[in-house]
């Protein structure tokens, strides 16, 4: 009983609870049909949101005003880079993934360079950067119709007993991210900066380096996500990352991470990502029109945020 109470006190449990509720509602509608397949599909789609969500979580944890708006453009460009480097050749998969990662890291580094050199809010810096990246992508990826190598496409769609392998790997990755956040100097520095940047600086935290690493990490995860998305959807696309602007921020906040910074929640990102994907599946199953689906998605996001409540800033 006591363990149940501590479990309920954890903010991330609610996002899983919401996901479960949406799943049950859908199954009730279909009469139990397709429940398992729905979880498989939700897991494979949630993976992409979780990967960028974790990057966004680290950035948001840095404190008020920190957010990476360049992720959609980053994902789009990285998907094109990965497909061009792999060029449909199985032998080039690793090289293509590395190229996408490098592309993302470069974007993250440029983001921080703008923030640091121009002393502008991260929102404007990442926004301006995303304009430029978008153009590079449009020009670079024009008419790009390279299919992913068969081995890579199979890998991103690979399932074992109905569980996508990519989802298992992503769970391991998120556990790693949790350890980095809570147990390593870098993660503790991110949390300290988010709680009070001046106090962190006085305590000897290397603020500049930590912020640089965080934006680069977010960029790298965006790049990786772009490559994986191109594999999963069998091709790169300028618009492939568009939905991840809202999704990456929403999963972080719904998952219980504080927007005021200094308080991150890794498991919540998974719960919130599953919740959002299942929600979309549910609305599709109910057969509502695009307009109604958008309105309901928006209202539910606002509703969840309102129910979860904002936290008071820590100072």
């Amino acid at each position: 009983m006591a363990s149940l109470r501590t479990l309920l006190a954890r903010p991330w449990i609610w996002s899983f609870f919401g996901a479960l509720l949406v799943w049950l509602a859908t199954i009730a509608f279909t009469g139990g049909y397709g429940g398992g397949g729905m979880i498989t599909a939700a897991l494979s789609l949630a993976v992409f949101t979780v990967i960028v969500g974790v990057g966004q979580m680290f950035v948001i944890t840095l404190g008020p005003g920190n957010v990476d708006l360049s992720l959609p453009a980053n994902i789009g460009l990285a998907s094109a880079v990965a497909m061009k480097v792999m060029d449909g050749n199985d032998a080039m998969i690793a090289v293509g993934l590395l190229a996408a990662l490098a592309c993302g890291m470069a974007i993250g580094a440029v983001n921080y360079l703008l923030i640091w050199a121009l002393r502008i809010p991260p929102i404007i810096a990442t926004l301006s950067a995303s304009f430029v990246i978008q153009s590079v992508d449009i020009s670079y990826g024009r008419g790009l119709q390279i299919k992913p190598p068969p081995g890579f496409a199979d890998f991103t769609n690979w399932q074992v007993f109905g569980i996508p392998v990519l989802a298992i790997l992503t769970v391991l990755f998120t556990i790693g991210a949790g350890i980095v956040l809570q147990r390593m100097i870098y993660g503790r520095s991110v949390l300290a900066i988010g709680q009070n940047i001046r106090a962190a600086w006085l305590a000897g935290v290397n603020v500049g380096r930590t912020r640089f690493l965080t934006y680069t990490l977010s960029g790298a995860l965006g790049g990786l996500d772009g490559a994986l998305l191109a594999g999963y959807f069998r091709g790169a696309n300028v618009d492939i990352g568009n939905e991840y602007l809202l999704a990456s921020i929403a999963v972080v906040v719904i998952g219980g991470t504080s927007v005021a910074g200094g308080k991150a929640n890794v498991p919540g990102v998974w719960g919130a990502a599953l919740f959002l994907v299942l929600l979309l599946t549910m609305l599709n199953t109910f057969g509502v029109s695009v307009g109604v689906r958008l309105v309901l998605t928006g209202l539910i996001i606002v509703g969840v945020i309102t129910a979860a409540g904002g936290q008071k800033a820590l100072r």
């Binding site: 304009f131 029109s289 695009v290 307009g291 309105v295 209202l299 996001i301």
Partner: protein
């Protein structure tokens, strides 16, 4: 001193570039054409400026402008009374959002991102396919041709003057900006922060409605996605105009100038420079970065 002149300076720079590339563009007719879309952009920028004055951000203004556009091109023409009620109701929704954000201490970025879906969905429900038609009085208003000075410039001056007076010269304007500058002090002085937040969001809704109506008066018909680009344009316009994200430091005149700069830099300048369409978005980003870099250099010297 130089810092407050920067928005005007960047506008002058863009104008000089245009005059140099294509002298014929600097005429009554040229400005009417080039600044065609400046009025809705300026209104959307002012809308964004109000929430920024309260340290918030509205990521839904673009789809809201699109929603208003769809209402304007359908109900406002066919059933004016219903149309007016819907538009007033949507301003009410904005006011409620302000109250919600304040009472529950919610992040405005997430709430407005969620709302951007709601507005877009409703726009699609109203107008599934591009179409509709602007009311005749609106068409006549937007096609107005005053003597000597092109209408967009007259309208921009008018918008800047009215908002400048309201926000910078009246005592409640000071309170509104103060809610972003030092909310704790304002609260101790006995002002209701809930009320200032509601007022700022309602003003954003009001100017969002004006922006959507002006846009449809120019384009004559609507499309659910017509305003999507305005979210980023409006934020960029406020920042170009010397506004800051925190501290209630905004400037209505600067915001209008920022919007004009963006409207000119967005396509006329780039077309004259023969920049291919692929790179026009990048050019916008680059202009933004250059202006912000100039601002850093200037404020460093002034220190």
């Amino acid at each position: 001193m130089l810092r407050s002149l920067l928005p005007a300076l960047s506008l002058a720079l863009v104008l000089i570039a245009i005059a140099w590339l294509n002298p014929r563009a600097i005429s009554y007719f040229g400005f009417s054409l080039m600044l065609n879309l400046a009025i809705p952009i300026a209104l959307a920028t002012i809308a964004q400026m109000f929430v920024i004055a309260g340290n918030e951000l509205d990521l839904s203004i673009g789809t809201f402008v699109g929603f208003v556009g769809c209402v304007t091109a359908t109900w406002l023409k066919d059933a004016p009374l219903l149309g007016v009620v819907i538009l007033l109701g949507s301003i009410g929704v904005y006011a409620l959002l302000g109250a919600l954000i304040h009472l529950r201490n919610l992040p405005s970025i997430v709430v407005t991102l969620g709302m951007s879906f709601v507005w877009q969905g409703m726009a699609i429900l109203i107008l599934p396919k591009p179409g509709g038609k602007a009311p005749d009085w609106l068409l006549a208003l937007m096609a107005f041709k005053p003597p000597f000075i092109p209408f967009p410039i007259v309208a921009a001056l008018l918008i800047a003057a009215v908002v400048h007076f309201g926000l910078m010269r009246t005592s409640y304007g000071v309170i509104l900006r103060g809610s972003g500058g030092n909310s704790a002090a304002l609260k101790r002085a006995g002002w209701s922060l809930l009320r200032t937040k509601i007022a700022l969001f309602a003003l954003t809704g009001l100017f969002g409605v004006l922006s959507g109506m002006a846009l449809i008066g120019i384009t004559t018909s609507a499309d659910a996605n017509i305003g999507n680009g305005y979210t980023l344009l409006s934020i960029a316009g406020v920042i170009l105009g010397g506004g800051e994200f925190v501290g209630g430091r905004v400037s209505p005149i600067g915001a209008v100038i920022g919007a004009l700069t963006l409207a000119l830099a967005a396509s006329p300048l780039l077309t004259f420079m023969h920049i291919p369409p692929d790179w026009q978005v990048a050019a916008n980003g680059a202009i933004l970065i250059i202006v912000l870099a100039a601002r850093v250099l200037i404020s460093r010297r002034e220190r």
